[in-house]
């Protein structure tokens, strides 16, 4: 297990480094010199050279990369060429908002999917179970931002019960904070819940065919009682994996949902960075998101190996 963990950790670190090279190389092909852009067309060559030296863009690309990537390790994302403010603190602040958004979406997805999927599996021969499957199939076809617009229409336009957008920090007003996040959470969570429902259903169906469940039924436990005692834990193994993969999907979905609800998260920062041609900022945010996806995949793999030792040798 230790060997597996170390091997997997080495792969993670190598992947993050490779992703760093890819992101850096990609942004480096950009036409235009940040110093020239910052100073405008009337700048003297001396001023450009001086600013270039201050930015550090006069050094060879490899040195620039090592400087940037080395800085990331202790949270230094460099200083924006456009706004001259350090990028790290901005990312840290926005990351908190996005994390809350994603985790809330995950909770909504679980609250929807576990009961709905279990019910659909237990009643897979009834019209009601089939109806849940059909609803989840439709839910999968609705992108999170469309769900967001629908929810705004129902809860903000028609019922006027919740705000249509905006974000209130929890320190300012906890109740308003909750109200400002409810619809974004639902937009992300309902769609992922629809996807998750299918996996929960098929996991529970698989478990229901197992001998140990039949034994539990034979011992006199009810259908739900047997599932509760013996089934859910076994059914959770495939579901945990999907959950991990969905966390990555949610993270990217949050970028779009933040735009719908005007929430100052990482996605908002990223899109503003692109609009303002703040490339070091874009580079930093992309790196954080990619590293997060890689980290999530790593955690999923490790969880999988912990839950099912047979899989450790498989990769």
């Amino acid at each position: 297990m230790i060997v597996y963990l170390l091997k997997r950790l080495a792969v993670l670190l190598a992947s993050v480094a490779a992703a760093g090279v890819a992101v850096f190389a990609f942004m480096a092909v950009l036409p235009g010199d940040p110093a020239e852009i910052a100073l405008g067309v009337n700048a003297t060559p001396e001023a450009v050279a001086e600013l270039r030296a201050r930015f550090g863009t006069d050094r060879p690309p490899a040195a620039q990369f090592l400087d940037w990537f080395g800085g990331l390790a202790h949270g230094d994302f460099g200083t924006s060429y456009v706004t001259s403010s350090p990028i790290g603190p901005q990312i840290a602040e926005r990351l908190g908002v996005t994390t809350v958004l994603v985790l809330g979406g995950m909770v909504v997805a679980l609250i929807v999917a576990v009961p709905a999927g279990t019910f659909a599996a237990v009643h897979h021969r009834d019209p009601l179970g089939a109806a849940i499957s059909a609803v989840s199939q439709v839910g999968i076809a609705i992108p999170a931002f469309l769900a967001g617009i629908l929810l705004v229409f129902v809860f903000a336009v028609k019922a006027q019960a919740l705000p249509s957008g905006g974000y209130v920090p929890i320190a300012d007003d906890p109740a308003e904070w909750l109200r400002s996040l409810l619809l974004p959470w639902l937009s992300l969570g309902l769609v992922q819940g629809a996807v998750l429902t299918r996996y929960v259903r098929s996991a529970v169906l698989d478990v229901m065919r197992e001998d140990y469940l039949r034994t539990a039924r034979a011992k006199g436990r009810g259908r739900m009682g047997a599932l509760w005692r013996h089934g859910l834990r076994n059914a959770s193994i495939p579901v945990v994996t999907v959950l991990g993969l969905q966390l990555a999907t949610l993270l990217i979905g949050a970028v779009v949902v933040e735009r719908v609800f005007v929430i100052p998260g990482l996605g908002d920062l990223l899109l503003n960075g692109v609009a303002g041609r703040d490339l070091l900022l874009v580079q930093g945010v992309v790196m954080v998101l990619v590293a997060a996806v890689l980290l999530i995949n790593f955690v999923v793999d490790v969880c999988y190996a912990v839950l099912d030792p047979r899989l450790r040798g498989a990769r």
């Binding site: 992947s15 999968i140 609705i142 469309l146 617009i149 990217i252 719908v260 874009v282």
Partner: protein, 278 residues
């Protein structure tokens, strides 16, 4: 009983996809109005009188925009899935066919695959857009590249199943070389799996294109696209919600169609999977 329901999915999915394809094809020769024609007098025109679904804030006919939007959606989907299939399939087959002695090849391909997998279409498109300026082309490339790992994975898994069959063993014993086996035995046998993957990927590509257009990283104006129609409708949600309704419905039905088609084809082409999926 499952047989009947699955057929229903296949038929429904096929019908939905058919409607989208038909709308796109018809839009080449006819639309009720010019979808890009700005008409100040017809601003937010109510449905009716030659404008079946009404008009938007620029007086552009919604139905015409939807039809040309279907064309945009299919165009992006076909190119993106095409890129993914053309790049991903050979990589997956090569990884799946690599003998134990060349396990590093398989390992290398799958590791690079995992790395690309960490770059979702949205991030690729935003990066491409930041460097080259966003447009239909950058969206298609981003979605295509991001879909390569899915194809490679599926192709590898299917290839590994084919490689242990008797007829491949026989072909190898007869002295056939790798490329010949790949073309004559592997590809025909993994074709159905790839078709299913293409259909499912198409649904994901539609979702990605809509999200990118919504964010302004997809098709540029004035070319109509469903995602941008939604984005433009959002500020009018309080006064004219129907502007959000139609493109939203179009996206959902198109995605549902390709998903149902993919699921239906999977069950139709591989009956063994019917029981496995419960």
């Amino acid at each position: 009983m499952s047989g009947r329901r699955l057929n229903l999915g296949l038929v429904t999915g096929g019908a939905l996809v058919g409607v989208v394809v038909a709308a796109a094809l018809v839009s080449f020769v006819w639309t009720p109005h010019d979808p890009t024609l700005v008409d100040a007098a017809g601003k937010l025109r109510e449905p009716g009188g030659g404008y079946l679904l009404g008009a938007d804030k620029f007086g552009r006919d919604t139905l015409s925009q939807l039809m040309v939007g279907a064309r945009t959606t299919l165009y992006v989907g076909v190119v993106a899935v095409g890129i993914a299939a053309v790049v991903g399939t050979p990589l997956g087959v090569a990884a799946g066919m690599a003998p134990r002695s060349r396990g590093w090849l398989s390992e290398l391909i799958m590791r690079v695959n995992d790395l690309v997998f960490a770059f979702p279409a949205l991030l690729l498109a935003v990066m491409l857009g930041a460097v080259y300026g966003a447009g239909t082309l950058t969206a298609m490339i981003a979605i295509g590249v991001a879909t390569v790992p899915a194809f490679a994975r599926v192709a590898r898994a299917a290839t590994m199943q084919v490689m242990v069959t008797d007829y491949v063993l026989a072909a190898r014993a007869a002295g056939r070389r790798g490329p010949a086996i790949a073309v004559r035995h592997v590809l025909p046998n993994i074709g159905s799996v790839l078709i299913v993957q293409a259909s499912v990927s198409f649904a994901i590509a539609i979702l990605a294109e809509a999200a990118l257009s919504f964010l302004g990283f997809g098709t540029r104006p004035p070319t109509p696209s469903w995602g941008r129609m939604l984005q433009e409708s959002q500020e009018l949600l309080f006064s004219t919600p129907r502007l959000a309704l139609w493109p939203g419905l179009a996206i959902a039905l198109a995605v549902l169609g390709f998903n149902l088609l993919g699921d239906g084809l999977r069950d139709h082409l591989d009956p063994k999977l019917r029981s496995a999926r419960g």
